[in-house]
Amino acid sequence: MDALSSLVDGFAIAVTWQNLFLALIGCFLGTVMGALPGLGPSNGVAILIPLAFSLGLPATPAMILLTSVYFGAMYGGRISSILLNIPGDEPALMTTLDGYPMAQQGRGGEALALSGVASFVGAFLSTWGLVFLAPQLVKLALLFGPAEYFALYALAFATLGGIASKNQAKAAFAAALGLAIAMIGVDGQTGVPRFTFGEVHLYDGIDFLVAIVGLFALSEVFVFLEHGGTGAHEGQAGRARIGRIVPSLSLLRHCTPTMLRASVLGFIAGVLPGAGASLGSFISYSMEKRLVDRKGTFGTGDPRGVAAPEAGNNAAAGGALVPMLALGVPGSGTTAVLLAMLLALNITPGPLLFQKNPDVVWGLIAALFIGNLMLLAMNIPMVGLFVRVLLIPARILMPVVAMVSFVGIYGISGSSFDLLVMIGFGVLGWVLRKLDVPLVPIILGVLLGNATEANLRRAMTISDGDWSALVQSPLSIVLWAIAIVGFVLPIVFGKVLRRRLSLRKDAEGAAVD
């Protein structure tokens, strides 16, 4: 019951005019960014972090703004999936399978409304999950010493490539690259400069915000430049027939069990390391298909096929916040970016966050509830407005994205050097994307590199240089075991899982076309 009374306090913090306004802005911007193909939740949050930071927002309002963007983007991703058959972001991929056929049958508005409700159910239930699970995880985390934390970070790096990872060598490469970038600068424990090559600008290290905005937002601009700005979506949104935008009660009742099951599965997928929202929506869809698809209507515009992945991916988004807040270890790209925001504000997530800054945690959670209600209200009647946004061509939109990225980074430091580093990261991000190297482990390495090293060295100082101290407690042995299994498993099963994912998409894509 502690959790409930803390939650009430959280509402007292969240319900101020400023916070409500920020939540509203965040929900709106997030939905727009999620809807636009090419801009997903992680890019959206990445662009706004420097802005929130240089505007001097305190921690709670800043987190409220950014998590609203995060959830807004999870809602928005479905719009272009349904109307254009182009997922607005990766987790919305599964929504295209039944959403687009529904739109073709002239039931686009119904699909949009239903998926809006499903998103709400998923997000709402998973926020409750967050309320009750996070404090339990905090209790466990209080048992952690430096050796356990080092093992936990290793686990995060090992599993971040994801169960559907294509090439674990590339995921490991990305993590090591990120860690190496984090090493640049003055060593925190002995004060000697490392990898600075005499460049004074590098003594403070590379600002992770610069790296994040470059890798995520700017590299997206290069992707568009590579294709000459031909956004395939241009001018198509107007053609899709929307039809009625209020779902009938019988349709909602028909889909309720689906939404509930999908929410639970999605939440679990979100909490587990290395799974995340994409897998959450995939698992929800496949399980629902297996359970209720007796007539073979999935893939031809079955409303339940829209409800399941949307409830699943929004529930996963909430689930992913659990390890991020309670342990300081993000389970997905977007939560890694949110972690960057907290670190930039000098707040270290983890068990101490719940003790030292309960206002941030519970204010944030309360804001999630409010934000989800706003999103539901926004996404049903105003969906037409967001559809209109899809008409903005990429050739105008992407330069705006680039310029806003520059503004944000320049606003923090006012230094041209940081802008140059950001451009460098943008190019690096583009090349690595071409080579199929995941970018999220790089970000995680840059973010957690110093904490990882500090915990290793602290553990060694305690044990006086005895390396076996890393595997002496049962807790750390368990963590190492999970890390190793999590790294090896994708090598064995990844191929099978990926083949199924693409087969399903192909087979059902073919049936549609």
């Binding site: 802005l51 060593d187 424990q189 990898f195 606003g411 071409k434």
Partner: protein, 143 residues
């Protein structure tokens, strides 16, 4: 082939990191691990993963044609120029030109892109500077 080149570069980078890590000066106070060890571990991980990439490459991605690559290179050059000139000519002028260039290269007609660039710049200036009070680069003209 791309992956072999990539792995090779990664391996060189790993060796460079290990070499540089061994050159880090030690201070007279130190913990048992010291500032060199962790970077060396990272270098080893980087090297091993690069070696695996080099020996077991994925299928090569589709690289853009030379003309497109040039396009990206020119855009990077424009962004670099933007970063350098921002404090000199001020936010509004620099941003108008940079945004106009990117819009043009993404396929808008030349004259229109100029209009879009100016509007983008003024729009960002209005929202972020006038409304939100963010400090942007100030040029000789005061904006």
């Amino acid at each position: 082939m791309s992956d072999r080149v990539f792995g090779g570069i990664g391996l060189a980078l790993a060796l460079f990191i290990i070499w540089q890590a061994r050159l880090i000066e030690l201070s007279f106070i130190s913990d048992p691990v010291g500032p060199r060890t962790f970077p060396i571990i990272i270098g080893v991980v980087l090297g091993v993963s690069s070696l695996v990439i080099l020996l077991r490459p994925d299928a090569a991605p589709q690289w853009p044609r030379a003309a497109r690559l040039l396009e990206i290179a020119v855009s990077v050059a424009v962004m670099v120029a933007y970063a350098m000139l921002l404090p000199v000519v001020g936010f509004v002028v620099a941003t108008a030109f940079a945004a106009a260039f990117l819009t043009w290269r993404l396929g808008t007609k030349a004259l229109w892109s100029l209009a879009v660039g100016v509007l983008t710049s003024l729009g960002i200036y209005a929202v972020f500077h006038l409304i939100l009070g963010l400090s942007l680069a100030r040029g000789p003209l005061g904006f």
